[in-house]
Amino acid sequence: MRTSSRPKELSGPDGTPVPVVALKHRDRWIVGTLALVVFAWLLSTLATNPNIRWNKVAEYLFFPKIIDGIWVTLTISVLATVLGLVLGILLAIMKLSHNPVLNWLSTLYIWFFRGTPALVQLIFWYNLAFLFPRLVIEIPFTNIGYFWNTNDVMTGFNSALLGLGLNLAAYFAETVRAGIQAVDKGQTEAAYALGMTPVKRMRVIVLPQALRIIIPPTGNEFISMLKTTSLVYVVAGNDLMTNASQIYKQNNLIMELLIVASLWYMVMTAIATFFQSKLEARYGAEAVRLVRRPGFVQRAFLKRTAQPAMGTAGITLTADDSVTAGKDLT
């Protein structure tokens, strides 16, 4: 509680020090204790429940099939997020473009992929072979090309990737659009006035500043993606959830394996949350380096503290300004 920094003594009416009696927050103590009791009780019912065999939880925690599943979950999460981000940026730019066709297509995409459940999309991709037994890439009007058996391509893993990535893109497009629109119109005007083309303006001036707004929520998207991957279970994608379920279907230790899976999801979320807070600290602050970012080594070693601005208040902030190649650092 915040009483520690308060004075222990104050000078009294006659000038001599008089002791100060701190306010006792009795209500806080009572409520806090009650909450703890309830929590401990819940925990003990779980821990001492004869129907949960904790030794089995421990046994399966590092079971090879579980560890394999974790890797698949992580891979799908990362790849699907990347796919979603790239496609989302593209969709947002299409949506903001003056070309009515692109605009309309982007709207349709977003509507479709936000309008149908992710689960349905996953199953759809997995069963694509019903619609197209073969996937063909060929030069039109010739026989030159490649074809694949759709069922070979649409494995659990690939359809999970596609389903989750395309789905995220639709949501992310809206975030990106909001970010782009939040960049001041004056930035665009200045870029045009200097002779930049619309593409350069977007890439060099607007997007980097929009990223500042866009990037923090991507951490959230990733965390939610980690758990959404458990949907992959319906297409047997060999992810953590699928593998856990395959084990409990054989040995009937349903609760134990759900606990194992949950523990791992929590660990992954905790790690991702840590990185997300880093990301937010980095992009939330003004010191953003986005255009022509320095390499990792430069970023690690050339961080320096800017002199407090002369004309302005003496703000000190770490600004990794040491960017432009060939610039002497003074």
């Binding site: 045009y192 006035a193 200097l194 060099v204 960017v323 060939g326």
Partner: protein
Amino acid sequence: MSNKLHVEANGVTKSYGTHLVLAGVDFTVKAGEVSCIVGPSGSGKSTFLRCLNALESYDDGTLLVEDRHVGYEYRDGRYYEWNTKQFAQFRSRIGMVFQRFNLFGHLSAEENVACALVQVRGVAKSAASIRAREELARVGLAEHSHKRPHQLSGGQQQRVAIARALAMDPEIMLFDEPTSALDPELVDEVLEAMKELARQGMTMVVVTHEMGFACEVADTVHFFDAGVIVESGTPADVLGNPQRDRTKAFLAKVL
């Protein structure tokens, strides 16, 4: 001072929907001349200035800047609308300074100045940095080159904006109320930089409410009202001895 015309506008009109913002503007600027545009709010000054560097399109009339028909290319008896590249190429030779500075928020002062050199002119990064620091030194900001816009005062930001425009070697500089967003004590440092530029013979079109600056630096002053130029002439004529009632009424208010 040669008599070559850098800007020649004849009957330029522009409307937003049904609102006629420019109602036939006739306007010329000779090489090396400083033209000040004054007039009441909403009279179309900014709109006209933005037409000059094709940030805004106009509806009718002819507008020649640097002997180019703004927005159109004349070829084989026809006017062809410019494509994106032509617009960009044209604007890259025209410097523009905005009321609200519009420095790129994610770049340092030096990068702000160097950015277009690299992106538009294709200058190597190292050469662009050197040039950027020279331009910043010219406006007295050599020590501030590593700072971001938010670490600079308004006056310093506006001087960076001037340096940024000058780095592109513009043939003409446009200023849209460059000191209106500044605290009064910061106005002079920006006007000083502009006066220095005028002394060096830069062709300038300046929309301003700073009558003192107009009197001292302008070769011609144009009084804008309701989308037309009501009165033009030397500062002494237009500001000192206005002929039109509208000009008199406006000047009575601002002076």
